[in-house]
């Protein structure tokens, strides 16, 4: 066994390196976990209105969310991100909350489109005026609907946010 040289390490990102041949990562646990989480955001397949169409486009080949490690999961129990893609009606809100409550920690919420951010143009009896009334929203994406590029920007913002977390892995939530 020779000495491990600094130059033998493959740098993955700031503070996280890979040791070739040993299948091992070196770096602070915080950074490694955040790197892993940011690189595998699995949103639950869940659309609410017209914005969901744009979310599907973001997942298809032209924009290809898979290259960010973002893979839609059909069950909230396997997912760690909820994209509020569309108009949230009051009748639907308890259902959305239930989907969120079924997701294991760590979990993140993206409000996609003006409807999910603030109710949008539907300031009416039936529509929730913003998803943050009953969910902790992490990223807001404006637009009606936001283009797939905007959704990708929102997901990259979420990745940045995840990368700044401190010790979320040690929380007994």
């Amino acid at each position: 066994m020779g000495q491990l040289n600094e130059n033998d390490l493959v740098k993955i990102k700031d503070g996280v390196s890979f040791i070739p041949g040993a299948s091992a990562l070196v770096g602070p646990l915080n950074r490694i976990i955040n790197w892993g989480r940011a690189g595998s955001i699995w949103p639950v397949t869940f659309g609410l209105a017209c914005c969901a169409i744009e979310m599907m486009v973001a997942g298809s080949s032209t924009n290809d969310l898979d290259r960010f490690g973002i893979i839609f999961r059909a069950s909230p129990r396997q997912a760690d991100c909820l994209i509020l893609a569309g108009t949230i009606t009051k009748k639907m809100a308890p259902v959305i909350r239930r989907v969120y409550d079924q997701m294991p920690e760590p979990r993140y919420v993206l409000a996609m489109g003006s409807c999910a951010c603030s109710g949008g143009l539907f300031d009416t009896y039936a529509v929730v005026q913003g998803g943050d009334n009953f969910l902790p929203v992490d990223v807001y994406i404006p637009g009606c609907p936001p283009r797939p590029e905007a959704l990708i920007e929102g997901l990259i913002t979420l990745q940045k946010k995840i990368n700044q977390e401190q010790g979320r892995w040690s929380q007994l939530v």
Binding site: P106, Y125, A126, F134, L135
Partner: protein
């Protein structure tokens, strides 16, 4: 589209029920009283080959002052659009429903597909369809108060729906388990 010839036949068969009729964009329209609507519909279906119910909806006439003054219009009307698969004709029946007796006979016995359409009319406009097999709300939550498409219903609703209030309280309670709030000691 040429006339279907149904209007004169209706006027002969139901002289007391037909209030008024006209043609619009080549389509026959008949205003009727609500009392014998089931008979009229079955006459149209069986005698006039109008075998398809395209849609059924309700109208709130309360802002049509000039129309109500004419004595033909009531506060509400239920609009039936029928189509004939064989003759490719369509006809519209507008049955007048007064405010003080806001109910009309259900046509689910003739077209089972009217079930959901009538439930929607009941839900949003508050028109009761007697002899409907299962008249529940279809779009709004079951414990919703009021009928949102009536003209007097305010855009932002009357009060808050109890289910939504419960949800907001519950989510406030669950907020203590969020990552951010439990993180404070760590900062």
């Amino acid at each position: 589209m040429e006339s279907t010839g149904i209007i004169p036949r209706l006027e002969v068969s139901y002289p007391d029920d037909v209030l008024h009729s006209y043609q619009y964009c080549g389509q026959d329209v008949v205003l009727t009283r609500k009392k014998h609507i089931l008979d009229i519909c079955s006459f149209i279906r069986d005698q006039c080959a109008m075998n398809h119910l395209m849609f059924l909806c309700a109208v709130d006439n309360s802002r049509r002052k000039e129309a109500i003054g004419k004595n033909e219009y009531e506060r509400f009307e239920v609009v039936y659009q029928f189509y004939s698969m064989t003759t490719k004709h369509s006809i519209r029946i507008r049955a007048q429903v007064p405010d003080d007796d806001c109910s009309i006979e259900s046509i689910t016995s003739l077209w089972p597909g009217a079930d959901c359409l009538e439930r929607e009319c009941f839900d949003l406009m508050g028109i009761h369809f007697s002899s409907h097999p299962d008249l529940r709300r279809i779009l709004m939550p079951e414990d919703w108060k009021g009928h949102p498409l009536r003209k007097e219903y305010p855009l932002r609703g009357i009060g808050e729906w109890a289910g939504y209030e419960t949800l907001k309280e519950k989510s406030l309670e669950l907020r203590t388990f969020d990552y951010r709030s439990s993180q404070k000691g760590n900062e």
